[in-house]
C-alpha cells in the first residue's frame, strides 16, 4: 500500500480526470476527451473505468466490482484486488452496501440508491462510430444534433429482420440532446439508465473519453412509434433462485442439449437463494 500513491494514479492525472468528469456531468451524454494513462492492465480490461474509479475513490468508500453482473469473474476479482492494494478501500459484493460500483456490461438488478456511483467500463464510446468512422465527422454530427444516420440504421434493422436487432449497446438519447452509447449493457438494462438516484460515470480508456449521466436524468432508448423499444430477456425463470424478472445467462451443461438459465447478477441470485427462493435446479427452496 505505501508503495503507491492513494488509488494508484498521481495527483496531476487525477485532477485532469476529475475536471473531465465534472464537464461530463455538466453536459450529460457528451463525451469529454481526456488524456487516458497506461494502466497496469491491457486495454479492454477496463482501463477507462479503473481511471474514473481511481479519481473518485475516497478511503471511506466501499467498492463493488462486477463483470457481466458477476462479482467472482477474473476481471472483477483483479480490479477489486487492484484497489484493495492501491487504495486500501473496503470492498463488498452486496449492491446495497456499496458506495461505488465499477461494472462491466451490466446494471445491478437491485435498484441503485442516492449517493451511489456506478462506473461503467466502455470499449467504444462513440455510438456513431460503426456508421461513420471519421472522428471529425461524428464530432460534427453531435454538434449539429444530426442523428439521422442512427435512425436509418435502426430502420434497416427492421427492414431486414422485422425488428430492431440491436440487443446490447443499444443507443440512447440523454436529456433530449446527445445520443450516447450506454456501453455494451444488454438492452434489458436500458430502462434502468433513466431517472436513477445514483450518479453514472462512463470511462473509455483506449478511446480516451469520459461521459456521465447525473441522477434523475431522462434517458430514452431510440425507437419508432410503430416499433417501440422493448427490454428483452430470455423467457425463463432463473434455475437457481426462480426469479422471473432478472436478466439471465444461458449455461450449457452437457453435450446433449442440456442447458440452464441463471441470473447474471450473482449478488441478486445469492441474496434470493439466501432468502429461501429456489428454482428448477436448486437443492433448496420452494420449487426444489
Amino acid at each position: 500500500m505505501s508503495d503507491y500513491n492513494f488509488a494508484y494514479l498521481d495527483e496531476q492525472t487525477k485532477r485532469m480526470i476529475r475536471r473531465a468528469i465534472l464537464k461530463g456531468v455538466a453536459v450529460p451524454g457528451y463525451q469529454v476527451p481526456f488524456a487516458s494513462r497506461e494502466m497496469p492492465m491491457p486495454y479492454g480490461w477496463g482501463t477507462g473505468g479503473v481511471q474514473v474509479t481511481a479519481a473518485c475513490l475516497t478511503p471511506d468508500d466501499r467498492l463493488k466490482v462486477i463483470d457481466q453482473g458477476a462479482d467472482d469473474t477474473t476481471n472483477a476479482v483483479s480490479i477489486r484486488k487492484f484497489f484493495q492494494r492501491t487504495a486500501a478501500v473496503a470492498v463488498t459484493e452486496h449492491t446495497g452496501a456499496a458506495t461505488l460500483i465499477q461494472t462491466r456490461h451490466r446494471i445491478p438488478e437491485r435498484p441503485l440508491i442516492a449517493g451511489q456511483i456506478l462506473v461503467y467500463q466502455v470499449p467504444i464510446p462513440e455510438p456513431l462510430r460503426f456508421l461513420e468512422p471519421r472522428e471529425t465527422e461524428t464530432r460534427r454530427m453531435h454538434a449539429l444534433e444530426d442523428y439521422g444516420l442512427m435512425h436509418v440504421k435502426l430502420y434497416e434493422d427492421i427492414a431486414r429482420n422485422g425488428a430492431i436487432a440491436t440487443s446490447y449497446a443499444y443507443p440512447v438519447k440523454v436529456e433530449g440532446r446527445y445520443v450516447m452509447d450506454p456501453s455494451p449493457i444488454p438492452k434489458f438494462d436500458n430502462p434502468k439508465l433513466s431517472g436513477t438516484p445514483a450518479l453514472q460515470l462512463f470511462g473509455a480508456g483506449r478511446e480516451q473519453r469520459i461521459y456521465a449521466i447525473p441522477p434523475f436524468t431522462k434517458v430514452v432508448s431510440l425507437d419508432f412509434e410503430d416499433y417501440p423499444f422493448e427490454a428483452t430477456k430470455a423467457p425463463h425463470p432463473c434455475d437457481l433462485c426462480g426469479d422471473e424478472g432478472s436478466y439471465l445467462d444461458e449455461v450449457i451443461t452437457d453435450d446433449r442439449g442440456g442447458r440452464m438459465f441463471v441470473c447474471s447478477d450473482t449478488d441478486h441470485c445469492a441474496s434470493r437463494q439466501a432468502e429461501g427462493h429456489g428454482g428448477r435446479l436448486s437443492t433448496q427452496g420452494d420449487a426444489a
Binding site: 476529475r18 465534472l22 453536459v27 464530432r139 454538434a143 441522477p215 434523475f216 431522462k218
Partner: protein, 189 residues
C-alpha cells in the same frame, strides 16, 4: 511571496483532494444540494470552499482568472504556490474566482464550442449567503425541483439557453459549496 502563501493547503493531498472532489462532484451532479468541505485555510477573501475547489481542480494546465478583490497579492501568491496555475484575463480562463459582481459581465467567459462544449469556463462564485431558497431549479440531477439562493436569475437563464454550450458554476460560502451546471433550468419562484 510572503511565507503565509505557503500555509493553508492540504496536509494529506491524495486523500483530502479525493474527499474534496467527491463533495464538488456531489454538488455539481445534484444542483441545489449544499455540501460542506474542510481542511483548507486560504487567505481572505478566498473562502475555504473556493480554496478547496482551487486545490482540487487547478494545476499548471488550467489558466485562472481572479476577479476584483480576489486578484489581491495574497490570493495570487497562494494560488500560484499551491497549484502553479497561470493567472490570465477572463477571456482565456478555464476557472474564475470572485464575487458575482466582480465576475460580471459573465458573457466574457468561455462557453465552449459546438464540437467541444467541454472547453468552457467554470466560475467559482463567492457568496455572502448560500441557502436552499430563492430560485427554482429543475433539470438533470434534480428529482422534481430544488431551490437555491442565486446571485441573479437572468444570466443563468441566458446561459441555459446556450446549452450544450455555457459556463458552469460553483457557489461558495464559507466552508459550504453548491453547484449549478449549465444544464440546470432556472426559474423565478
Amino acid at each position: 511571496m510572503t511565507p503565509d502563501a505557503m500555509t493553508g493547503g492540504f496536509a494529506d493531498a491524495p486523500v483530502q483532494s479525493a474527499c474534496g472532489f467527491r463533495a464538488i462532484l456531489r454538488a455539481l451532479s445534484q444542483p441545489g444540494e449544499i455540501v460542506a468541505v474542510a481542511g483548507v485555510r486560504p487567505p481572505a477573501p478566498l473562502s475555504a470552499a473556493a480554496g478547496t475547489a482551487a486545490l482540487v481542480l487547478l494545476d499548471g494546465t488550467t489558466p485562472v482568472h481572479l476577479a476584483g478583490p480576489h486578484a489581491c497579492q495574497s490570493v495570487r501568491d497562494w494560488i500560484t504556490f499551491h497549484t502553479g496555475a497561470p493567472l490570465v484575463e477572463a477571456e482565456h480562463a478555464m476557472f474564475a474566482f470572485g464575487s458575482w459582481d466582480a465576475l460580471l459581465p459573465v458573457a466574457r467567459f468561455a462557453i465552449g464550442t459546438p464540437e467541444y462544449p467541454d472547453r468552457a469556463a467554470t466560475l467559482i462564485v463567492e457568496m455572502d449567503r448560500l441557502d436552499s431558497d430563492g430560485a427554482v431549479l429543475r433539470g438533470p440531477g434534480i428529482e422534481t425541483t430544488a431551490r437555491l439562493s442565486l446571485p441573479e436569475l437572468q444570466a443563468f437563464k441566458v446561459n441555459r439557453a446556450l446549452f450544450p454550450l455555457g459556463f458552469d458554476t460553483l457557489l461558495a460560502c464559507g466552508d459550504r459549496l453548491a453547484g449549478l451546471p449549465r444544464s440546470t433550468i432556472v426559474e423565478d419562484v
